[in-house]
Symmetry: C2
Subunit: 329 residues, 2 copies
């Protein structure tokens, strides 16, 4: 079997997650990790795989089938993905929902020009949650969608707390409200406010001598991030944070309820849920499955941008169509 | 908007479910229901739509875009689908898992010859459960799959009870064992026997004067159907059966658990679950969404057999790719 040659650009938690996923898939071969740091300072998990300066990317076009972009959505990917797709087939996890159309357009134009495939916005949301929403909506056109996130760590909310003066470190968990989920699962089709769907739990390490009450007030009143939620703040030591909150778990549920029948007398509940010990390792696993699809699309001579919506599920699997029909259908 | 012209062959519960789903989708138009019965005796829900003898099928080739085959998998579809795909693009819900490769081959050959598309084995299992299995396997290659069915009515098991001498009527529910589901959801990766996964609840109407103990014994010892399960038998009156067990609910969960990390230290649980008040109406809804995809594939000039694995999710949705990216990704 000729293996799919993978490069990874960026070596934070997500890049490391993609590296682990490459190792878990026999048809994949990691050939290089690219970094903006000094590559000599970067130590990766996979033995024998070089770390390379991002400035060298263009020298690797004939050695890599798909480049996985493991950067952030705020500043990295809007620039990186359209640039990189000029050189490689690429996959990214761009997750700023509101800017996806614009990102798609930029990647699509560059990908068509260069004759490559760019798969964008894969991971779990956007990604697996999106595809669950799509299937459920296509099957039950008359219905309502609900997405619950958590219990899991929100990096953005943790960062927002850390920017408050006097905060040494922080970890924020997004937590779905059980009663709201139960009402949805029961097909009650509730109208839920932001506050009714999720609560926010904050674990904060305060610098010595700071006013904890002021920090708590700054958190719970922070617009967009916390003001619209029931938020709890617990002050703990750095040791406790490091010991009890080192993981990056996440997950959630996409639920669609709808009715069928002559008078809508039959209710159906479709739920897709994830419980993830490691958000970046799971996202890295999705990126690698989609890299397989990107390679296959490119082998067929296709070009342009794709999302998970445009990719037949079989393209993600290492099994042949015959195997899938015989054993998984 | 030019609507997709749908025909339905067969008017049992499933055909009626597909009819209701056509009515729920603005881009669909039901143009005829075909039957092996005398069409004059068949009364359908949709006003103004003709009921037509199956012998007339070939006169409708220019009036129908996709024919939905609503027959059974045991004897109808193995013959009907390869025949009908010579005349129309078709969709079926063939659900005899072991015979899918053979059915695919027959439909594929006929569809290619005729220049049509045949989408087979759509519904919820095979169908939505299959696609959930595929995605989860592609993302977590090291893991274990679990499928739980129910609580729901098994038509096959109900029929098996009705064939026992002295039984006037019966309804059988397949019920997942909660403790087994919880162990799987907790990532415990248990090895489960048939008996540990599901129980079977039977509601039986006995003919007057029959030996109920003998009926119960015949049920619980029946090979394949009940002997390997913990089975409960409750005798009720026909009135109670008609009043309390008239629905055809079903559902279940597909769960995959797997690990990532340097030493498999992070566990992930992916679950897709359905809770359906009406099995045939939900299956009919999937058939209609797949009819949309069949029409689009045919419009592109594609031919041959497809399963849900081969169809990009966006093809199932009435929304445009732009709308999907903007609002559902």
């Amino acid at each position: 079997m000729e293996r799919i040659r993978i490069g990874i650009l960026g070596y934070g938690n997500l890049g490391r997650g993609a590296e682990l996923a490459c190792a878990a898939n026999d048809d994949m071969e990691l050939v290089a990790v690219f970094t903006r740091r000094d590559p000599a300072t970067l130590s990766i998990l996979t033995e024998g795989v070089p770390t390379v300066s991002v400035a060298e990317l263009e020298n690797w076009t004939d050695k890599i089938d798909v480049l996985i972009l493991a950067g952030g959505s705020a500043t990295d990917l809007p620039k990186q993905t359209p640039e990189a797709v000029r050189l490689f087939n690429v996959v990214d996890s761009f997750d700023t929902h509101a800017n996806i159309p614009q990102h798609f357009a930029a990647v699509n134009a560059a990908a068509h020009e260069a004759g490559h495939i760019g798969v964008i916005s894969v991971g779990w949301d956007p990604g697996m949650f999106s595809v669950a929403r799509l299937y459920a909506n296509a099957i039950l056109p008359g219905g309502a969608d609900y997405t619950f996130w958590g219990r899991g760590v929100s990096q953005g909310h943790s960062d927002a707390i850390r920017r408050i003066p006097g905060v040494a470190d922080a970890r924020q968990y997004t937590v779905p409200v059980p009663a709201a989920m139960e009402a949805v699962r029961a097909g009650e089709n509730p109208q839920l406010t932001t506050r009714e769907k999720h609560t926010r739990e904050c674990f904060v390490v305060a610098e010595e001598g700071t006013d904890k009450a002021a920090i708590e007030e700054a958190i719970v009143t922070m617009p967009n991030y916390f003001a619209d939620y029931d938020t709890t703040v617990t002050f703990i030591s750095q040791e406790e944070l490091d010991r009890d909150h080192a993981g990056i778990p996440h997950g959630g549920s996409v639920i669609r309820t709808g009715t069928t029948g002559e008078a809508g007398e039959n209710t159906h509940v479709i739920e897709f849920s994830l419980k993830l010990d490691s958000n970046p390792e799971f996202t890295g696993s999705v990126l690698v499955a989609c890299a397989r699809a990107a390679h296959r699309l490119a082998e067929r001579g296709e070009t342009g941008c794709r999302t998970i919506f445009d990719i037949a599920p079989a393209m993600l699997s290492p099994q042949t169509p015959e195997e899938l029909r015989a054993h998984m259908l």
